[in-house]
């Protein structure tokens, strides 16, 4: 049986998972592939460190170049993460004529075009299924499952840490800070959780999805990104009262030939399928003009789910090697040269319903004042809730609007926040009434 040599750079959680999965499922992978995948070299930064897997001493090296320049290695699996040296490793490996598998969303969302161009020119392949939604094969689905479709929208829960925190806040109660600490203790959140709770990780992944779905690159600076650190138990409860859930959504839509691309906490109807995605799970809802709505769901992170995606890419490339080909499917799902340049809507141009929570003095005439200003900015009110009654004190006054333009909303709230009846900065959240749909 044919043997295909691969090399690994990085043996952290995912790398260890890859080694374990290749071993555990050795027999079925061979039956499916018709070749044996041989782990020829593994580069780690610290050779003295203990590992979760036993590896022969001879295949270990502290120098990534031993992997990259090994003439017998056909596929280099980069699992270092971050921009450098990961970028250089990948570019050098491609330069050496090797195909690459990576899970590195930070790198691909910032240097993707450079890397894909080099891959295209070198007659090799690149796999990056693990960069979005862990084990869920959503990249394969967009590139090869739905290529007959004009994709019009994507809604994703693609950060497990943020979803875990919001799920906990919704179902068990507690403040953001308390639950973040709990998540850190359980290993669901990193010691530095910034990328996850500020929406940056989700924006990285959304950039990749936009590229694949709309055939256009989108810079991270064009993706409006807002995290969940300011979500309060009060807003969680009001959301429930209005029949919503708050989720950190990564949203991309083709609206009139321009793209919306944004990551922010979003209110969605509680009976929507995405609203039922709890804990560290991920889900991506895609609308295509042929297929209609489809949803892909599973574990977005963790050792073995991510390894499942990495090994799927390895097998995919091995299937090409078996046939002596490369470049069967373009990295970005559309051909180089066919990559469009598309405008991105500014967040101020958004037109959706909003949830607004004022901290207003409970006094006759306040609602009239507030709704007057909203009206001046063409914002009409769908419903109002004022829960507590404490005449003369500040109480939460919650308004859900009809479709409004974000620019007008921000202007109205700036004006309202200057009123003396308003005690705290007004909070607002975006609402997505219907995920996907034929609209």
């Amino acid at each position: 049986m044919k043997r295909i040599n691969i090399g690994l750079i990085g043996l952290g959680t995912v790398g260890t998972g890859v080694v374990r999965l290749l071993r555990e499922n050795d027999d079925i992978i061979r039956d499916r592939l018709g070749a044996e995948i041989v782990l020829k070299r593994v580069a780690v930064s610290d050779l003295s460190k203990g590992r979760g897997v036993d590896l022969e001493h001879e295949i270990m090296t502290a120098d990534a170049r031993d992997v990259i320049t090994d003439p017998e290695i056909a596929i280099v699996v980069e699992l270092v993460g971050g921009i450098e040296p990961a970028r250089s490793f990948i570019l050098e490996a491609v330069g050496e004529g090797k195909s690459v598998v990576t899970a590195n969303k930070a790198l691909l969302s910032t240097h993707g075009m450079e890397i894909f161009d080099k891959v295209d020119g070198a007659g090799v392949d690149i796999g990056f299924e693990a960069s979005v939604a862990g084990g869920v094969p959503v990249i394969k689905a967009i590139k090869e499952g739905l290529p007959a479709n004009r994709i019009t929208s994507i809604y994703g829960i693609i950060n497990g840490t943020a979803n875990y925190i919001l799920s906990k806040m919704t179902h068990d109660g507690g403040s953001f800070d308390e639950i973040l600490r709990d998540a850190q203790e359980k290993g669901y959140a990193e010691a530095d959780p910034t990328y996850d709770v500020d929406g940056i990780d989700a924006a990285h992944k959304l950039a990749i999805l936009v590229n694949l779905a709309f055939g256009t690159p989108v810079g991270l600076d064009r993706i409006y990104t807002e995290g969940i650190t300011n979500i309060t138990p009060m807003d969680i409860n009001f959301a429930t009262e209005f029949g919503y859930r708050i989720k950190l959504l990564a949203i991309a839509k083709d609206r009139g030939g321009r793209i919306e691309a944004r990551v922010h906490p979003t209110m969605i109807r509680k009976d929507d399928m995405l609203a039922t995605v709890e804990g560290v799970y991920n889900a991506i809802h895609i609308y295509g003009n042929g297929v209609g709505p489809v949803l892909f769901y599973g574990k977005g992170a963790g050792m073995m789910p991510t390894a499942s995606a990495v090994v799927a890419d390895i097998i995919d490339i091995c299937r090409n090697i078996n046939k002596g080909i490369s470049g069967r499917v373009p990295p970005l799902s559309c051909l180089e040269g066919k990559v469009r340049s598309v405008d991105v809507w500014d967040i101020n141009e958004l037109e959706i319903p909003y949830y607004i929570r004022f901290s207003a003095i409970d006094r006759p005439g306040v609602l009239s004042k507030i709704s007057g200003v909203l009206g001046d900015h063409n914002i009409s009110i769908l419903s109002v809730i004022q829960k507590d009654r404490k005449v003369g004190d500040a109480v939460p006054l919650v308004i859900v609007t009809h479709h409004a333009r974000e620019r007008e909303l921000v202007a109205a709230l700036t004006e309202i926040d200057e009123m003396d009846v308003i005690k705290d900065k007004t909070v607002y959240l975006r609402i997505e009434e219907q995920i996907g749909g034929d609209s």
Copy 2:
């Protein structure tokens, strides 16, 4: 730009959708594929019939052989359905060196091995994504998204008609017959609904999924198949009361190296994701030993969703033609010669919890008698509900059991149904407590 000729046999709903989708998304398909797909010939049984699409007169023919034998056609799309002449058309097309795309689950679940063997030998490809779950790319996912996994279970809602009827019965009330008539009027059910409501269509699809996931063929005669025609509003209501929903599930599990393969109405927890799949939608839950649980959701039927899958297969094969290859991924996900022969569990060997509804005379001592017989057969009771009290009359007595063996259950019920306090044949339904999971 390279042109790849295809031919269509059959221009019903799906065929019309394929033509429409190829036209509507012509530009993006070309950008993604790097070739132009040309519809060179279309065979229909009745040339005089009106169509939903305009086609040039010259490409139409009443003779399928005009498509099959056209030397310029590379891919034959069979959308005739049924066993013959579809089987002959496909075998002949493959014999002519053409690749084939089909949505024909009835054919593949009965003559799959014959067809796949011929495809393997002929150096061509076959695509059948549309045969299971319409537009949802679940076949692609199993073969290429999850090939690193040992799949241990599949739970599918893969018949939209049955799911529509059960959803309606649950949420709007009504008898099976009433709702079936309503579904027929709306076009959600065929004039002859047997295949859908008796579970046969779901069994066809399950046979294909088992083949792909477990690498083993399973005859339709080994798939226990039970439809939804006997589901009553009373059982729907009791299910709700116990916190369950009734769904027609197609279930396959690897249990101790033997396969469970069965289609039947099943009670599942109402907060399970599959329980939230309503109407004509399909969903497939797969558990892999690396990825854990994954779920794929979307429209399982209809013109454009099914066309999305057919055209995805056409593009897939065109990508192989672009590179001058075939057989990159084996039709059944594992290589010929590696296909295992695996035992299938008899339904009598099932060990799960059961819902049992007795029609028992309301009289002291009846429950004791019934539970005595159940106990004699090693069946222990989890909970009991007796709703109405009409002393001396027959009332529903509902029992949910702990795990029990089906063989014992059937024996116990046979015994109990002979008691004079039992007025009607006892009804039982299988319960799946946890979909997938690490168990």
